[in-house]
């Protein structure tokens, strides 16, 4: 009897929540349209990769040595050297943002080189330090290889000193395309958005509209309320997941090397955690405005900043690293990127799921308390 009644009530509540969700257009806008916008923006709009960066080259010395020194710049696939006649001109280009760096070969380059003291000046625009750092490495590399080539040519094969050749391989992302790691990371971001941000308003809304009071004085149990609120948004989250996977595959050619099953399992686990997080915030604040602000601050921002989505956690100070470990998104982020790019590591998936389960149980207990059927 009690089991059947539980089922009836749960189905009734789920039906109610689903209908409410479907009838509120602004909810669907954030739940389904915003993810599409994000996918397209991250996929097409954002790239950390330096490509075809214009470099102003100031040749003050027109010697063959000088020409040779900068010849490597043209060979780099990242750089587009543009020769300018004066430092003033280059300066103007850099300030106007039409050049990202200035390479200046001084007038006495050849003499200095003969003395073993060749210098090339590199001026970067530090306002975009990310691009500047990458450029520095590329330009260094381009000029350095030329010097080596010259060295090799100068000496006979037998007398060569030998050199290191780096065989670099970027695992999981051979071409080093940032879209490849941004798109899987986006899964975590969207799950957080749908989970925490959207649901943060659900219980608060019922408090604000006074719909809970009548609902409480029925045979409804708190657990049923919580489960019913999760269900429709779980579905939206899964739709978003499917969109992400399809977009990754079809639009951006991101490899999906792990098993879809593992992706599905971990995503559901994380989705449940962020849904519960949203409900918990909602139940504590009882106010939609405060709830959405809280959700942004405690779920969305950390998922964006602290999870290792864009900013590599190996770079951050220790305290931030510790803080990042508290954020559930961090644990999901690691697993989902691995599943997309590296392949299925079941031990990692299992570990991730156990952590999610822990968070879920904790949040469930907390949320349960906030919807205990009491007004005081």
């Amino acid at each position: 009897m009690s089991n059947a009644a539980f089922k009836t009530r749960l189905i009734a509540l789920v039906r109610k929540e689903t209908r409410q969700m479907l009838r509120d257009r602004s909810n669907l806008l954030v739940g389904l349209i915003l993810p599409v916008v994000l996918i397209l923006l991250f996929g097409y709009g954002l790239s950390f990769d330096v490509k075809n960066a214009p470099i102003a080259v100031v040749m003050e010395s027109n010697s063959a040595a000088a020409r040779e020194a900068v010849s490597g710049l043209a060979g780099s696939r990242y750089l587009v050297p543009v020769e300018v006649t004066s430092m003033a001109e280059a300066d103007a280009l850099l300030r106007a943002g039409k050049a990202d760096a200035i390479v200046r070969v001084p007038i006495d380059f050849a003499e200095q080189q003969a003395r073993g003291n060749a210098q090339v000046q590199l001026i970067l625009n530090g306002i975009d330090s990310t691009t500047a750092t990458s450029l520095e490495a590329y330009i260094n590399g381009a000029i350095g290889t030329v010097a080596l080539r010259r060295m090799d040519r100068g000496k006979s094969g037998a007398g060569s000193t030998g050199s290191i050749v780096l065989a670099q391989r970027i695992w999981f992302n051979e071409a080093g395309i940032s879209t490849w790691y941004l798109v899987p990371g986006l899964v975590a971001l969207i799950m957080t958005l749908v989970g925490a941000f959207l649901t943060s308003m659900l219980i608060a809304r019922e408090w604000e509209r006074g719909t809970l009071e009548a609902l409480f004085v029925t045979p409804v149990r708190p657990l049923e309320l919580v489960l019913a609120k999760i269900a429709p948004y779980l579905l939206i989250g899964l739709l978003d997941l499917a969109m992400c996977i399809l977009a990754a595959r079809i639009l951006f050619q991101v490899p999906i090397r792990g098993s879809l099953l593992a992706i599905l399992i971990t995503s559901i686990a994380y989705l449940v955690v962020s849904l519960l997080m949203g409900l918990f915030i909602s139940g504590v604040t009882r106010n939609q405005f405060a709830a959405s602000q809280m959700a942004l601050l405690t779920s969305f921002m950390p998922a964006m900043m602290l999870s290792g989505f864009v900013f590599d956690l190996r770079n951050v100070p220790f305290a931030v690293k510790v803080a990042s470990q508290i954020v559930p998104a961090t644990h999901f982020m690691g697993v989902i990127k691995t599943l997309f790019l590296a392949g299925t590591d079941w031990a990692m998936v299992a570990k991730g799921c156990v952590i999610m389960l822990g968070y879920a149980l904790l949040l469930l207990a907390l949320t349960w308390r906030t919807v205990r059927k009491r007004l005081d």
Binding site: A5, T8, R9, I11, A12, L13, R15, K16, R19, Q20, R23, D24, E206, R209, G210, T211, L212, E213, A214, L215, F216, V217, T218, P219, V220, R221, K373, R374, L375, D376
Partner: protein, 591 residues
Amino acid sequence: MNDTPPSVVIKALSKTFDGPDGKPFQAIDGISLSIPPGTLAAVVGPDGAGKTTLMRMMAGLLRPDGGRLHVLGIDLAEDAQEVQNRISYMPQRFGLYEDLSVQENLDLYADLHGVPADVRVERFSRLLAMTDLAHFTDRPAGKLSGGMKQKLGLACTLVRVPDLLLLDEPSVGVDPLSRRDLWEIIEQLIESDGLSVIVSTAYMDEAERCDHVFVMNRGMLLADGTPDELKAGARGLTHVVSPDDGVPARDLQARMIDAPELVVDAVPSGGQVRFICQPGCNEAALKALLHDCDCQPREEELEDAFMLLLHQHDDGHGDASSPPPLASQAPAVATNGNGDGPVIVVRDLVRRFGDFTAVANTSFEVKRGEIFGLLGPNGAGKTTTFRMLCGLLPATSGELLVAGVNLRNARAAARARIGYVAQKFSLYSNLSVYENLDFFGGAYGLRGKERRDRVNEIIRQFDLDPDVHSGNLPLGYKQRLAMAAGLLHQPEILFLDEPTSGIDPLARRAFWRTITALSQSGVTVVVTTHFMEEAEYCDRIAIQDAGRLLALGTPRGVRERSGIVSGHMNEAFIAIVEKARAAEAEGQEAA
């Protein structure tokens, strides 16, 4: 049948809240009572008496701070869920899911209560028929009128036959027609299902229908008994007096209210004034107060006993939760009007929303210095008319002049000549009384010293505390502040949208005393209301239903047209509306 436990047994119950000002506030103060099964019991009291707190505690939604509470023989402290499984509860603001349809709301509650499918079909059709909602099952609950929402709330509460039904002020903000329908449903169900019902209410005519009445004030139980037992308390004190010809009843009533040592309560009714005199009052002084008008004893009613109990209880304490009536000194108002011409002219006013006509071909005029009442059931179009008058809504067609201009496209100066008090006394709740008034003074273009003086003056006149956060004010004072804000700039016309909705009888008396004073000083007042007895304060009233103007004239004239001259205005109103609806239905059939 001694094995059926009492519906409710309460022993020395108490509950304290943190008041909005941070001080603890005793909402329930040592109440003990017992309600036998199968009775229809009423809990009555003014705002802040603790009615809602008591109802919520019986529903297991609040935990008592002291005392014991058994419902249906179950200790609520031990098994609140079991009680909630067996009772049904309709909170004051029944939270319908406004984006779900009528049918979906009903289905939800039926599922939650586990009503079997076969029972459901019969029950739904009966509830829908009783609530007149059968044609609206697909309509979203948010699109229903206030009265329909309340009926749907009741229907959701009654999807199954509960062992006990708790109704918390089911008729607040509901027009007389819907109120009558609600009570018909409750009484039918009591008869057919043998329901036990506890209802809290501020309407004495509703309490009078109950088997047993509990009178509460400030968390305490003042008295209880059958309506007849309670009425006996006022025996011999109730009279009715007719004013001299040409004197509005409300002026005599105002004079009487201002003499609390002689008169407990007075209300205008059908051109006369019904009043309760103080027990053992000086008869000669009373006669002098009445100017020797014709005074007759009348039969006591429950309201008389209630007012008497409250006055006696409040006299023992200093601070009443509802404000005392304002001094007879009227707020000073600019009377720069010219002549006696109409200040409001409405001709062939029409407002449509899509293909729905909210106001159809309405014409009326309001004279300077009049109190004009706009009456009608929920959804009759009176709010729409009102909003058009104030310039908040454009008219679809027709002519509309307020103080000689159409406020919709009037220049700012014209708007400075009206005052407006919105339905929910909408002021900035986290600003203090002074800050609110200061702001509205500035918005109306008052500056510098002039504004300070005016604000201080109105604070004094309305007896307000300038430093209190307006959100923390009791409802009666909120309404008073809203009025003060509307009168700051000394308007010629004051618009009041349902100013007494949700306000208890004591505060309503105080409110009308202020309006009477304003009118005497020459302000034109336009007011909408649900309370038909308040029509008695007006010079002229207009009754609207379904967008059409059904009656226009003095309260007495309207009564005469309805054929119900004596008795309550309520009945006259219901008669007029029903007659018009019947004629409409006939007309449709004929066509």
